[in-house]
């Protein structure tokens, strides 16, 4: 019997590798090859307290920064596990061949947003691609041994869930249209919900949000859907938002807006400690605020002209090429215009510390799962979360292995969301789920969504997920991290709880859920 993993990005590969290393077989299902997963796009780096930069960094510092960055909406015990295991994860990637630059203490680390120490390991601005290449090669070793069976170009059709117990998954070959039923536990690792914001995110078109939509329909709980990260520095290019990595600010880039004609480095003035490296939710909201001021221009610039020549060469050469290619601006010589864009989904499939979902024998990891990042994710923590989450899910599966699980094909027809319908849903969410939100607009979003006319099951599901997202944002009457309500501007201690949404009797049921206390041991 094999475990089925849906998604072959960093989280899926890491789950498959952990299983294989322990001698357990898995089916690794993905819509496209691993080389095309969003994980290859990750740029700035991966966090771990390696303490190589003579700054006395500790795991506890990493824990605190992550919790504070997420405005205390993450499971502290899960975050503790994440930060504790981070150093061994990064060292393992080095052993697998990731060409991290080193100094006499070990792997070199850079500054990143929301962190007080240099804690982000990187390979230029192509960290995700480097991790993926090494991991794909390592998993290949186990493919040859028959422990990992790839199902490339396959999509998830449905989960075999009965009485809240998952016994497998039905998948379809998008090339031949042939269906396959896979029995056994299932790990969902199919990435973030970019498909709700078509053309408006920095991510991939491959992550269609179908998995989350299917979970919702099949009675699996989702959480914190309202927490959508706007990255402060993106630019519009043909068909999407292009990320300008936080590494730009980590290496010394500064944000300014022209106020009465002269550059105002507003982040430095307002936040003298972390300056331009405040967490992303704070920077993006400040950008909205300053560009709305009457004496300021509407455009914020990222000024990298002060960065040292050697840093450009050894650490940012790819980022420089990107600016020249897409903007026709050499950032060494001239500031570049930037604005916030949708970048990451903190919410997703609800999981516990062990990565169990609300259904038995169904697990989730990676960006698609709601874990580690609370109300706002720190840069560099999601590559880490994807790897560690995949590993943890795999270990849990092993401990709960049930060889008697048998799935059958429920013969649900496979349908797809049409590009037009996706564009219509995205237009509504993009318009109303902004950096700053308020009740009348959120109500309007829900009303407009309810007027859309889905033509098949997939469209109906996507619409329901969109509605659940807007309703979650309406439900949370406070401001915290990436969820900012102009009508409820304060953070409310009684809201230090997750927003959980589940479908009951065909109705979206939204509740709050308390977070676990931090264990003292």
């Amino acid at each position: 019997m094999s475990i089925t993993i849906i998604g072959a990005g960093l989280a899926g590969l890491s789950a498959a590798l952990t299983l294989a290393e322990q001698g357990f077989a898995s089916n690794l299902v993905s819509a496209q090859a691993s080389e095309r997963a969003q994980s290859v796009m990750a740029e700035g780096g991966i966090n771990a307290c390696l303490n190589t930069m003579d700054e006395d960094d500790t795991v506890e510092n990493h824990f605190e920064d992550t919790m504070r960055g997420g405005v205390y909406l993450a499971d502290p015990n899960a975050v503790q596990g994440l930060c504790t295991h981070a150093p061994e994860i990064v060292r393992k990637f080095y052993a697998l061949g990731v060409p991290f630059p080193t100094n006499e203490n070990g792997i070199i680390q850079r500054n990143f947003g929301g962190q007080k120490k240099k804690r982000t390991a990187f390979v230029k601005s192509s960290t995700g691609k480097m991790l993926m290449t090494a991991l794909i090669d390592e998993v290949r070793k186990y493919e040859a041994k028959g422990l990992v069976t790839r199902y490339p170009h396959h999509r998830l059709v449905s989960l075999a869930i009965h009485e809240n117990k998952c016994s497998g998954a039905v998948i379809i070959d998008t090339y031949s249209r042939q269906r396959t039923v896979l029995s056994g536990g299932v790990i969902l690792a199919s990435g973030g919900m970019s498909g709700l914001f078509d053309g408006l995110t920095t991510g991939t078109t491959q992550n269609t949000a179908e998995t989350a939509a299917l979970c919702l329909e099949q009675g699996v709980a989702l959480a914190n859907l309202e927490f959508i990260q706007y990255h402060p520095t993106t630019i519009g290019i043909s068909g999407k938002r292009l990320l300008i990595s936080e590494a730009a600010r980590g290496e010394g880039g500064r944000l300014f807006v022209r106020r009465n004609g002269t550059p105002w480095y507003f982040m430095e003035e307002k936040y003298p400690e972390l300056k331009n490296l405040m967490p992303r939710d704070v920077v993006s909201a400040e950008m909205v605020t300053v560009t709305a001021m009457s004496d300021c221009e509407k455009q914020v610039y990222l000024d990298m002209t002060g960065i040292d020549k050697t840093v450009w060469k050894s650490r940012l050469s790819d980022l420089r090429e990107q600016c020249i290619h897409y903007l026709d601006i050499d950032p060494v010589k001239q500031p570049i215009p930037v604005s916030p864009g949708i970048h990451y989904f903190m919410g997703g499939i609800w999981v516990d510390e062990q990565h169990r979902t609300s259904a038995k024998y169904l697990y989730a990891a990676g960006e698609g799962a709601c874990q580690y990042h609370g109300a706002n994710r720190l840069g560099g923590n999601s590559l880490l979360g994807a790897v560690y989450g995949g590993q943890t899910a795999a270990r849990t599966v092993i401990s709960e292995m049930n060889p008697s699980l048998r799935a059958t094909d429920d013969d649900v027809a496979y349908t797809e969301v049409s590009p037009r319908f996706r564009a219509a849903v995205s237009a509504v969410l993009g318009k109303y789920l902004k950096i700053l939100r308020e009740e009348t607009e959120l109500r309007e979003a829900i009303r407009v969504l309810q007027e859309l006319q889905p033509q098949n099951d997939a469209e109906e599901r996507l619409l329901r997920l969109a509605e659940a997202t807007a309703k979650s944002a309406l439900f949370r009457t406070e401001s915290r991290g990436a969820h900012r309500r102009t009508d409820y501007p304060e953070t409310d201690a009684s809201w230090q709880q997750q927003t959980v949404v589940i479908l009951r009797d065909n109705e979206l049921c939204i509740t709050r859920r308390k977070l676990p206390e931090r264990r003292t041991s």
Binding site: V40, D137, G199, G239
Partner: protein
């Protein structure tokens, strides 16, 4: 700008391909990828004979030349659709075809699974932990950037999907692994490399200038040969 778009279409692997011409107006700064997305969002698009166009199947993922998904032939040249601006098409005639070296699945989608099968069959992985050397650092970075897009194979005179020569899409990733081996710890990869790459490569370097990732392909070939064939391992 006004475009006459000609697309080589095919319903499925068993059907006959046919050519379809569409007249369409699009901004020159759009990429071919954006154009295809727009065409697919049109409600009642018809071709130049008045027939409905229907959904044009093609593949993409990152839309920023980082994943290799959208490789296709644009005016006869293998390229990434997301990295090809319409403004490059001066004549206003745009010919889109699927890559020819791989079996067509439908329209512009081809099955490139054979590329992964090749890397599996040459054992492209490290048996021991990586031997990092300062000299190979940049090379490993560059080699690790390979998108597995297949553009290099499309132009290679010696590569055929069913053949036993695997081309640059194999030697570029292999150079990363080979450069991280120690002399005391050789691997099967060297032997398979010789069999499936070294022996079949004509070194014509038709593949050199086509790589959309801008990888220095010639250097990767030289490195792979040096380690796998001439046993010149990297030293600290």
């Amino acid at each position: 700008m006004k475009l006459i778009i000609e697309i080589l279409r095919q319903r499925d692997s068993a059907s006959e391909p046919y050519r379809q011409k569409i007249s369409y107006e699009a901004p020159p700064e759009d990429t071919v990828a954006t154009l295809l997305s727009k065409l697919n969002r049109e409600q009642e698009l018809t071709d130049m004979t008045g027939k409905p166009v229907g959904r044009i199947e093609w593949q993409c993922s990152c839309l920023q030349k980082k994943c290799g998904s959208c490789a296709m032939r644009v005016n006869g040249v293998p390229r990434l659709a997301c990295d090809t601006k319409l403004s490059e098409c001066k004549s206003g005639k745009l010919l889109l075809e699927p890559l020819r070296k791989f079996p067509t699945v439908c329209d512009l989608v081809v099955d490139r699974s054979v590329m992964m099968t090749h890397l599996l069959s040459i054992h492209n992985w490290l048996e021991q932990s990586a031997h990092h050397t300062g000299k190979a650092l940049e090379l490993c970075y560059d080699a690790s950037r390979c998108l597995q897009c297949g553009c290099c194979l499309e132009v290679c005179p010696n590569f055929f999907a069913e053949g036993d020569f695997y081309g640059a899409a194999a030697f570029v990733p292999a150079s990363r692994v080979l450069s991280q081996l120690r002399r005391e710890q050789p691997q099967d990869l060297s032997e398979f490399y010789r069999r499936n790459v070294y022996n079949g490569c004509g070194k014509s370097l038709s593949c050199r200038d086509i790589c959309p990732a801008g990888i220095d392909i010639e250097q990767k070939l030289a490195t792979s040969n040096a380690v796998a064939v001439w046993k010149r391992y990297f030293k600290k």
